[in-house]
Amino acid sequence: MVKITVNGREHQLDLDPDTPLLWVIREHVGLTGTKYGCGISECGVCTLFLNGAPVRSCSTPLSAAANGTVLTIEGLDTPEGRAIQAAWADLDVVQCGFCQSGQIMSATALLTQNPSPTDAEIDAAMSGNICRCATYARIRSAIKQAAAALA
């Protein structure tokens, strides 16, 4: 049995401790906003927060989350997260949407650490998150808009 707390709710899971956290969250906890895209930490669509820090859940074993706290897109309600989501809505960032949970989690992590990132800092922080629809220009603008709203 492994205990994890996801979006404030505690779960006891009888699973192989090597199971990636992504599949635990998606198929056993039942929250599907966090996506599978590559399985090797290359695309970022599986990004969630583990103990407050963004991780690629596809490559994080359940054992690494034992007794830990997980925050997914469904539970995102920090001031930075809300500002990011509001800017995303205002600028209509999304297209197919599949990568956007991961983008929003990475962008929230960035603003939480750095309240007024430069273009270069945004690029550096976000280049691990692939968007095949190439919504990158709007992501950049939305992060800046959210930063301005929080300032």
Binding site: T32, Y36, I130, A134
Partner: protein, 724 residues
């Protein structure tokens, strides 16, 4: 006042559609109700909604539900099509809801494709433009009639605005309050459409996407997210080479894994089933399989390219012959010869391919980000021995596609059906490919080779152009030769070249369509992905050879093509074309028509040694009337970005028949730090709307190549672009 002027534009639209050879069923079809024919009947005591046709339903709760027949894969159909309905209905944007249409080609066919339901070719808005507006106008007219009856006034005196009907004497009613009364009226055959001057929603850049909220909070549902009682997830071991077959299988190591439920041989490989993905994948990875590769394809990309070069030395099937290109080349003052090579490309959609299938009634239900309902119905029905109509389809959002989910042979949906069949037809199955499966299982943009010889006369005027194209036929792979291949020429292989807009008097384009066992299909912008690169690079090189400015040179050759000229001029102006740039920087331009839309792009690059970055891209587009200008802009930004990936980093290569790449670490795609600043300008237009999903994609590679040539003098003719 509503008037009949619109009917003229309607006729023009229909004529344009016919001229484009658009299909069999051009008439606007509005028959049937929107209610799912395959859904349970609604409760008899429920208040009746107004359902005048298959596309709109107005509830007594004041909701306006628009049924969208096209897949939302990011391109904005769930926003654009409802905009057309809401405009004519005079609905409030916030009361509009969206529902994906069921599979039923009789009601939901693509009007440009005849009796076929599906999404592609940047046709969603263009084929629905008349149909969806008429759907909205019909509902509006019925609401007005219902109000006129209730208020005992003349229908012509009733105003409709923002979801409210009103009369000068003070009566007011919402759509919801009138829905039930309107539902009892006869559906009118003829309705008036608005004069475009009255549009409030069409052309409104502040309308937000209908799918945004649920894609921002994680609640949007994709095929990957489907869970059902008893569902088993299937992960498949595919052969390592195209044409290889299963020789022997030892399932024991996989069976030993707790939770692995079934191991099934299917025509495309071996499927491992478990209650969850991770167990199924571990099982798949543990299978011990020997493949029979005696008939497998064993060539590499470089060998294919070499064979294509040999083919390019011989005449091909003639796509275009105007004047006498050979004679004109022989007498030209200057001849430029060049060869262009473009690799196979994977679509690399963000959501790896997947499909859910479950038993239902006398048939099955497929749950899928479905791009091609009619093909999937045929494919799944053929596997299971059903009639196509026994295959119902729930169309979910697709985590992009770029053409891949509209596979010509319904490859992955048929694979799901094979697994469902092998598992005994009772268990709901979710087929889930890994990223590695998605990259390696084929259905690529074909590898292409172009040889171009172009001649200038002594005055620097282009007089001859011979372009020979070599690459697999997408139409042949799709079984669409009767529609798309004429005199041995696949239109999809030469589009963008055989219809060269530049006024060159002697033009000859010919084509070789070799067959290879590498599965191929359409990839965002199809033939234009390679033709635009060759054409726009050569034109630029001719301008340089003639000592002319690349924009002026093109403008002069585009006499009689005002829409090409319009976007070219606009992009050049906005980009500050001709302005000085510091050392090491360069500016390049390209203009191209595809899917009846016109796009020009100016790219600015900075070169540092052998590496370079694309700093800024200015895009001008003429897509007729822009229904949702912000969605048009988004498609220009994103379509350009998709093409930029192919220009900068993406390539799929074969070595001894094996795909060398497997995942995003080696099949590279565009990332944030490679995305330039982008500006998009839409040319105002009163023409009927045309496509925007694809036309920005093919223009960027030549624009960047031309910018690099301006900055360094190097002409790069292979993609992805690498400086020497």
């Amino acid at each position: 006042m509503r008037n009949r002027i619109e009917n003229l534009s309607r006729r023009r639209f229909l004529q344009q559609g016919l001229a484009a050879g658009a299909g069999l069923t051009l008439g606007v079809q509005l028959s049937g109700v929107s209610r799912r024919l395959d859904a349970a009947p609604s409760k008899p005591d429920a208040a009746a909604p107004l359902e005048p046709n298959a596309f709109v339903r107005i509830g007594t709760d004041d909701s306006v539900t628009v049924i969208v027949k096209h897949l939302e894969m990011g391109q904005g159909t769930y926003t654009g099509l409802p905009t057309l309905v809401a405009e004519e209905l005079d609905a409030r944007w916030d009361q509009v809801r969206v529902e994906g249409a069921p599979a039923d080609a009789a009601r939901y066919n693509n009007l440009f494709w005849g009796p076929t339901q599906g999404t592609g070719g940047s046709t969603s808005i263009a084929n629905s433009w008349e149909q969806m507006r008429k759907a909205g106008a019909t509902a509006r007219q019925m609401l007005v009639e219902a109000a006129a009856k209730r208020w005992q006034v003349d229908a012509g005196e009733i105003q409709v605005r923002d979801g409210q009907l009103s009369h000068a004497k003070g009566q007011r009613a919402s759509f919801g309050e009138l829905a039930e009364a309107a539902a009892g009226l006869v559906v009118p055959e003829d309705v008036f459409l608005k004069d475009p001057a009255e549009f409030r929603l069409i052309g409104n850049a502040r309308l937000r996407r209908k799918d945004a909220a649920e894609k921002i909070d994680g609640s949007a549902r994709y095929t990957q997210d489907v869970s059902l009682p008893g569902l088993l997830t299937a992960v498949v071991a595919h052969p390592p080479r195209f044409g290889a077959r299963l020789k022997s299988l030892d399932p024991e190591p996989a069976v030993a894994i707790r939770g692995v439920e079934k191991i099934l041989r299917i025509p495309t490989g071996v499927a491992v089933l478990a209650a969850d993905f991770w167990t199924a994948k571990r099982g798949r990875d543990r299978l011990s399989i020997e493949w029979d590769e005696s008939d497998a394809f064993t060539l590499g990309s470089e060998e294919i390219l070499q064979q294509y070069r040999e083919l390019a030395a011989t005449p091909g099937a003639v796509a275009t012959a105007r004047g006498d290109a050979e004679a004109a080349l022989a007498s030209a003052d200057k001849v430029i010869e060049s060869e262009f090579a473009l690799p196979f490309l994977a679509h690399a959609s963000m959501e790896p391919l997947n499909c859910v299938i479950l038993p239902e009634g006398d048939g099955v239900r497929v749950i899928n980000g479905e791009q091609s309902q009619t093909r999937t119905q045929a494919g799944v029905a053929s596997v299971l021995g059903l009639k196509p109509e026994q295959v119902r389809i729930d169309m979910l959002y697709a985590g992009s596609s770029f053409g891949r989910r509209g596979n010509p042979q319904a490859d992955f949906t048929s694979e799901a059906a094979e697994i469902f069949k092998a598992a005994g037809r009772k268990t709901p199955i979710k087929l889930q490919w890994t990223r590695e499966d998605d990259t390696r299982a084929g259905w690529y943009r074909p590898l292409f080779l172009h040889r171009v010889r172009a001649g200038l006369d002594a005055a620097g005027k282009p007089v001859a152009w011979h372009q020979r194209i070599v690459g697999q036929s997408i139409a042949a792979a799709a079984g669409m030769t009767s529609r798309l291949v004429v005199d041995g020429v696949d239109r999809l292989s030469v589009e963008g070249a055989s219809d060269l807009a530049y006024g060159i008097p002697n033009l000859y384009v010919d084509l070789h369509s070799p067959t290879l066992p590498v599965p191929i299909q359409w990839w965002r912008s199809v033939g234009h992905t390679h033709t635009a690169f060759a054409v726009e690079s050569v034109i630029d090189e001719l301008a340089t050879a003639a000592g002319r400015d690349p924009v002026d040179f093109r403008m002069a050759l585009l006499e009689g093509h005002p829409r090409h000229q319009g976007v070219l001029k606009l992009a050049a102006e906005k980009a500050g074309w001709g302005g000085a740039l510091p050392e090491g920087r360069g500016r390049g331009v390209a203009v191209h028509e595809s899917f009846n839309s016109y796009v020009a792009q100016v790219a600015e690059v900075t070169v540092r040694g052998r590496s370079f970055s694309v700093d800024r891209v200015v895009i001008a587009v003429d897509c007729g009337m822009a229904i949702n200008p912000d969605v048009v802009k988004a498609q220009m930004e994103g379509g350009m970005g998709y093409g930029l990936a192919a220009a900068l980093v993406s390539r799929l290569t074969l070595k001894e028949g094996r795909v060398e790449q497997s995942n995003f670490h080696d099949y590279k795609v565009l990332r944030m730090d490679q995305m330039p600043r982008v500006e998009v300008y839409i040319l105002p237009s009163a023409e009927a709307p045309t496509g925007v999903g694809e036309p920005a994609t093919p223009v960027i590679a030549p624009a960047v190549a031309n910018a690099l040539a301006a900055a360094t003098g190097q002409r790069l003719r292979r993609l992805p672009l690498r400086l020497a």
